[in-house]
């Protein structure tokens, strides 16, 4: 069997979606102090890459771009079983939209080198574009398989089961190839004790600035991002004044049905 591939998984740290609340006074989203996590679909990407490694050997690197606090996402990925981690961090990257982001990640992937597979989550929960994965493939001019739920490494090619609206397509691509993992397509493994020990021992995370990688400052950051968010309107759903029932199931169901019957909801 050919030696296993080097996979690079691109992840992002995002605010926990369920913690996001609309400020009742200003009607804007409260983001300050919201706990963050690895973008949930990125966990599926990590799991997919780690499964390839479990099956075929090779190594899994994890890469993120963002402020130094993103280190915690890298540490978690390492504790899940990744071999090395890379943090691209630079003030000039601030405010990058998907074009400079795909550009910067591609340049960093290029610098890491030696890769056969690149994994991303299908999209992030905070921006929901799904553009960065295919964007990286565009930049690197390599193959791509998006919305993958299963991956099979074939030595010199890769096969991916792609979830589309009317069914599942199986694509086969040469290497290197960008794979974006379908959200919930697998059960991401939790960080392991051995993994956390390895993280604690240190030395697994490489931190690079744009200069380290050779990224052109004229290509990144808010000033070189084609799109801007001009304004944000908050969507407020009407309050239906819910009646909530809980407790022992039988009694709770009776109470629920009684309330629905009393309101005439059950009559035809």
């Amino acid at each position: 069997m050919a030696p296993g591939p080097r996979s690079i998984v691109c992840i992002k740290q995002v605010p926990k979606a369920q913690e996001l609340q609309v400020d009742p006074v200003t009607n804007t989203l409260k983001r300050v102090g919201v706990p963050s996590e690895i973008n949930p679909p990125d966990r599926n990407a990590l799991e997919m890459a780690l499964q390839v490694k479990d099956q075929f050997g090779g190594e899994v690197f994890v890469l993120t771009m963002g402020p130094p606090v993103f280190t915690s996402a890298l540490e978690e990925a390492l504790a899940m079983g990744c071999d090395r981690a890379f943090l691209l961090t630079d003030r000039i990257l601030g405010g990058s939209d998907t074009v400079p982001t795909a550009h910067s990640l591609s340049e960093t992937i290029h610098k890491i080198g030696g890769y056969q597979l690149i994994f991303c989550g299908e999209e992030t929960t905070d921006a929901s574009t799904g553009h960065v994965g295919p964007g990286i493939a565009g930049h690197l001019d390599c193959a791509q398989i998006t919305y993958c739920s299963e991956v099979q490494f074939l030595g010199n090619r890769v096969r991916g089961k792609r979830s589309v609206e009317d069914g599942f397509e199986t694509w086969e691509c040469p290497l290197p190839c960008v794979i974006t993992a379908n959200f919930l397509s697998n059960r991401p493994r939790p960080p392991s004790l051995s993994g956390k020990i390895r993280v604690k021992r240190g030395g697994l995370i490489t931190t690079w600035s744009c200069a380290d990688v050779g990224i052109d400052p004229g290509k990144v950051g808010i000033r070189n991002s084609p799109t801007i968010v001009a304004k944000v309107d908050t969507v407020v759903l009407p309050d239906r004044k819910a009646k909530i029932f809980r407790g022992e199931p039988k009694a709770a169901v009776t109470a629920l049905l009684d309330a629905m019957a009393a309101d005439g909801v059950l009559s035809r």
């Binding site: 960080p191 004790l193 051995s194 020990i197």
Partner: protein
């Protein structure tokens, strides 16, 4: 595969003290905590007797997150609407090795774990370890979801339910009579209001224990401690009694909170948090063995908890047992290995540090405290006697001894029974 000399499971007071002692002795130690941070899963009252800390870190008070030193002890017997209390005022309780203080467990445990880390132990959080790994029949590390980390010796300091002690076969599955259910809430009060209400100086604190109606006359009791600007209010109730009487701990807590004697103390306060956990009750009776080949139990996991009615002790015994465990390991190391024979010194060290001596002194206390009359009949009786003695309504006053005899009769407790209970109490305490 990762390998350590010692793995300590649980970064509570016992685990952190053990890891601290081991690291200080140059033992390559891993300390594993299941919570996201040490102390996150802890709830207990937050009153800590400081004597083992003095022995461990002489200048601990420098940065230990102490809320208040306890200078006033209160014991109260509650009927449904009255309270008879005894207060012991002693500012000298607030100093020296005998001092006790109140603390937030989240902060205190984090502080102690940090000490262990600073001493050289590796702290890993967010991992639940519930199995020992065995090689050739003896404990040789821990296993989590198939992931094995090796160690020559493992200390289980994973709390009252100690999954690890059970996986190692040192304990059976828990039964309700071995545990009480503890609930605690933190009530916020402005510092000035608190100090005025409890008549305290800036650093002084008060501790209360409540018997009788506090636990709805079930076996158990209530407690209240003052922190800087909050109160810790809680209950410990026999889980067996809760099960038998089909009572929810929340209902008992609700009634306790509304008792006039309590409501007065917490008036105007805001409840910040609420938590519940299991408290081992049987002490040593729960874990006859505290060591095995390559394996030791410490703290709540070993049942090192003392409830003698007027004090609840746990954190101090946990720290002392953790230190004893560390010392046992360093001695076994010198003796050439971590066999059960070499670790047997643990029992002697526990005695030297007064852990088991205190537990043995009060060995009968848990059984004595299982006497239901202590929680139902007597507190009520005392309150009724007090009520009769202090009610002067022109119908004529009686002598205290007469009242007591009459009330005891009304409560259907024979004088002989009462005498036996009293003697039993004196012996156990």
């Amino acid at each position: 595969m990762e390998k350590f000399e010692a793995i300590v499971v649980g970064a509570g007071p016992a685990g952190s003290a053990a890891a601290y002692g081991l690291a200080k002795a140059g033992v390559k130690t891993l300390l594993v905590e299941r919570g996201k941070a040490p102390g996150q899963k802890a709830m207990f009252g937050g009153r800590i007797y400081s004597f083992p800390l003095h022995a461990m870190i002489p200048d601990f008070a420098k940065d230990c997150p102490i809320e208040r030193y306890v200078t006033r002890e209160n014991m109260a017997f509650l009927s449904d609407d009255t309270a008879l209390s005894v207060t012991f005022d002693a500012p000298k309780l607030g100093t020296g090795a005998a001092a006790s203080f109140t603390a937030y467990r989240a902060k205190f445990d984090a502080w102690l774990a940090k000490k262990a880390e600073e001493a050289g132990a590796m702290l890993i959080t967010g991992i639940r370890v519930d199995k020992v790994h065995r090689q050739g029949g003896k404990v040789a590390g821990v296993a989590t979801n198939g992931d094995v980390v090796l160690a020559d010796v493992v200390i289980a300091a994973d709390g009252a339910l100690s999954q690890l002690a059970r996986s190692a076969g040192l304990r059976g599955d828990p039964s309700p009579e071995e545990y009480s259910v503890g609930v605690k809430e933190t009530v916020e009060l402005p510092q000035k209001v608190l100090e005025e209400r409890f008549n305290l100086d800036e650093k002084e604190g008060a501790a209360y224990v409540f018997a009788g109606a506090a636990s709805a006359s079930l076996r158990g009791g209530g407690f209240l401690y003052t922190n800087k600007a909050t109160l810790s209010l809680g209950l410990v109730v026999s889980s067996e009694d809760l099960a038998v009487t089909r009572t929810e701990i929340g209902t008992v807590m609700d009634r306790f909170r509304r008792h006039p004697a309590i409501a007065r103390l917490t008036k105007g306060g805001k409840v910040l948090e609420w938590s519940a956990h299991l408290v081992p009750e049987l002490g040593r009776a729960m874990s006859p063995r505290t060591y095995d080949d390559g394996f030791l139990l410490a703290g709540d996991a070993a049942g090192f908890l003392l409830n003698v009615g007027y004090t609840f002790r746990g954190v101090d015994l946990a720290i002392a047992s953790g230190m004893a465990a560390a010392e046992a390991i360093t001695r076994a190391r010198t003796a050439g290995g971590y066999s059960a024979g070499n670790l047997a010194v643990y029992e002697r060290l526990l005695k030297e540090r007064q852990v088991t001596t205190d537990l043995e002194t009060f060995a009968q206390a848990p059984f004595y405290l299982k006497n239901p009359r202590l929680f139902s009949v007597y507190p009520k009786l005392l309150n009724e006697i007090a009520e009769k003695v202090y009610t002067i309504d022109g119908t004529g006053q009686r002598k205290l001894s007469e009242v007591a005899r009459a009330e005891a009769k009304a409560a259907k407790v024979s004088p002989v029974r009462m005498l036996l209970d009293l003697l039993g109490g004196a012996r156990a305490m």
